[in-house]
């Protein structure tokens, strides 16, 4: 892959290339769950996803991390990437079990089993992949749409013009 050529293409087309930008890549165990969430929140905010949308995405990822620690062999790996205007977070574990993955909501009196439901509901885009040696769980959120909505809320005049939102986002991406 030729980085310089990609960069030139991006400049010519006037928008960032669809090359994934790694924002965070970290191994985790149970002790790291809390600091990892704080780090993730900072990176997600820096990427332009703030407020309730940012909180929802961070909680969704946190549930996947918790799931990996609890049911996926006690540890895992988190990768947060930005691909154009989409934030993608992949949580990989090495759980040996072949238990069913409960994404459905349990009845109110059942204590557990709501983690994957939360991740799904908060992002609307949960993907679970069973590998021979574990599970890969992926959530994503559209950065451009969320940021545009936030801009529209703050300033109806600017929000009416979609181009204003797009240029603002590219400025933040550097």
């Amino acid at each position: 892959m030729n980085d310089r050529q990609l960069g030139e293409d991006a400049r010519v087309s006037g928008r960032s290339a669809a090359r994934p930008v790694v924002l965070l890549s970290q191994h985790f165990t149970a002790e790291a769950v809390t600091p990892l969430r704080h780090l993730l929140a900072a990176r997600v905010t820096a990427a332009g996803l703030s407020g309730d949308n940012g909180d929802d995405f961070v909680l969704a990822v946190h549930e996947l991390v918790t799931n990996a620690v609890r049911h996926g062999g006690g540890s895992g790996h988190l990768d947060l990437r930005q691909v154009d205007g989409v934030l993608v977070c992949e949580v990989t574990d090495h759980g040996a079990g072949s238990d069913a993955l409960p994404v459905d909501l349990p009845p109110v009196h059942v204590p557990g089993g709501r983690g994957l439901w939360l991740a799904h509901q908060l992002t609307g885009a949960l993907m679970l992949t069973r590998r021979p040696d574990g599970i890969t769980a992926t959530v994503s959120v559209c950065l451009i749409r969320q940021t545009a909505a936030a801009v529209a809320q703050q300033s109806p005049a600017a929000g009416a013009d979609g181009m204003v939102d797009a240029s603002a986002i590219e400025g933040e991406q550097e």
Binding site: E31, V33, T66, R114, Q121
Partner: protein, 109 residues
């Protein structure tokens, strides 16, 4: 790296009624201590209220602890409910469908 304490609690007892005031962030690393706290409370009081006004983060493991304690209380004819849910707590309980079950006040006061 040892996990830091990310949340605190205060207990106010008034006769057969206890209020547990929580604050901070509670996740899977804090849930076991919360579970112990809630079980001790429902063992010793007929009515337990969990005040979540100053709670800035909960996850599904906290819901598990709350539902487990509520079930234990109900089995013994006692009541546990959550009051003053902060916006984050309200959102998580709402999305997971347990908001009413955990916040509806019992008839016994």
């Amino acid at each position: 790296m040892s996990p830091k304490l990310t949340w605190q609690h205060q207990i106010h007892a008034e006769g057969e009624r206890k209020t547990i005031v929580l604050s901070g962030e509670i996740d899977m690393n804090g849930a076991p201590r919360l579970q112990d706290l809630l079980h001790a409370a429902v063992d010793n009081a007929d009515v337990v209220e969990v005040d979540a006004a100053a709670v800035t983060f909960i996850d599904s493991s906290v819901i598990s602890a709350l539902i487990t304690a509520r079930n234990t209380a109900a089995t013994n004819g006692r009541h546990l409910s959550l009051v003053n849910a902060s916006p984050q707590v309200h959102r998580v309980l709402d999305v997971t469908g347990v908001l009413n079950a955990l916040t509806v006040k019992s008839g016994r006061r």
